[in-house]
Subunit: 214 residues, 2 copies
DNA sequence: TAGATTGTTAATCGATTAACAATC
DNA sequence: TAGATTGTTAATCGATTAACAATC
């Protein structure tokens, strides 16, 4: 729709879903001090076919070398940059119950390019012993904060009933992405990117494969 | 492989992933007191094509009626039964940090057929004020408990480094399913069903679609 | 009966796999 | 140079969509 994108052909969702996984395994190899890997060996490790790995990567360019394979460090970085993990993202947590706390802690300990700049909750002041960096603010300030601080991502960990209202608030305040942990699907303008972690759907899929095996 | 399954043809993962979503929307309609719905109307609501909805459902049988549509209540129940949500599942939570607490609370408040029968943590006794039902036990008892109580599902919410050990423990003790919230992929026997909630992969996919739009 | 909408087959589209020429 | 392994095209497979006959 917009002319801003420089992408030539649309990459399918299936490919994008696999990229973080490639990167995760490459990170492991890196830690183990392994310097190069072939698509065949990577295939055995990750469980995708070698053909698919090469096909996936070649959507973004030729990162390997014939007769040699792929440099682990280089490929790790390249995938990171494809995913946009070399950029910085400002995050607010909305809903500071246990899930919100868990996510705040996960992000600040494991995702160095995602900075939690604010935490919001309806309950007046919940001060967290372990997570001291950001002060917990009341939701009344949310819109102003997002606008003023130019926040990129809102992590929504409020009860399902409040999810849409929160989504509307941050969206109107100019948020660019929403990480939705509630069980509802959010209705948002097209230019707001939404990533859903539908916990209930996941549990129900588990149930399917379990009772299937009984 | 085993002769136990009565399934005739294998249903694709893509279809199974959509079923919980159908059910979720049907639940909404139910609450609103709507009694019947056509695939066309459901299509507009959920965002899949009417054709796909009919195709998906007909993998499991004809739940509709020509000229009328689908009974909301009936279809809701049928999908629940396809997913195995009419069965009871015994659950243990392994790792009672904030994520474990969040999941325990989610399950006990929203998933009536999934019963939390035990909670485990390495830290000696973390007693939870809000969640009084189950006592928190030390991980040393985990294997025995799973075996003795015939636990169906282990929710793994321990730090990544401990994930595989926990998985091995519960697997050897006869667990049937694992709901994995850690960032690692677990290596388990084929007969143990694993459902992953890879939080980091989800965040990285979000980053891709966001930086793509900048 | 006429109208609506399913169940189901056929057509299309897209994604995965196989094959191999290019090349390090 | 010979061997290995990529990048890429072609073949296959599977999933989605379209179409329509069946039927409520």
């Amino acid at each position: 729709m917009s002319a801003g994108s420089t992408k030539e052909k649309q990459i399918s969702k299936a490919v994008i879903k696999r990229l973080p996984r490639y990167r995760r395994y490459l990170g492991e190899l890196q830690k183990r001090g392994i310097e190069k890997i072939s698509s065949k060996d990577l295939s055995e490790l990750i469980g995708y076919t070698a053909s698919q790995i090469r096909q996936d990567l070649n959507n973004f360019g030729g990162f390997g070398q014939q007769g040699y394979g792929y440099s682990v460090n280089y490929l790790y970085d390249e995938i990171g940059s494809i995913l946009g993990l070399d950029k910085e993202y400002k995050i607010v947590i909305v809903g500071y119950g246990r899930l919100g706390q868990a996510m705040a802690s996960y992000i600040s300990n494991n995702e160095s390019n995602f900075k939690i700049v604010g935490i919001f909750d309806v309950r007046q002041i919940i001060q967290d012993v372990e997570f001291k960096d950001a002060q917990v603010m009341t939701c009344a300030n949310l819109a102003g904060f997002v606008k003023h601080e130019n926040v990129d991502i809102a992590v929504i960990t409020v009860p399902a009933e409040k999810a849409q209202i929160v989504a509307d608030t941050v969206s109107e305040a100019g948020i660019k992405g929403v990480w939705n942990f509630t069980t509802v699907d959010l209705d948002l303008p097209e230019d707001v990117v939404v990533e859903n972690v539908h916990i209930s759907d996941s549990l129900h899929a588990l149930a399917y494969y379990m009772h299937d095996e009984l």
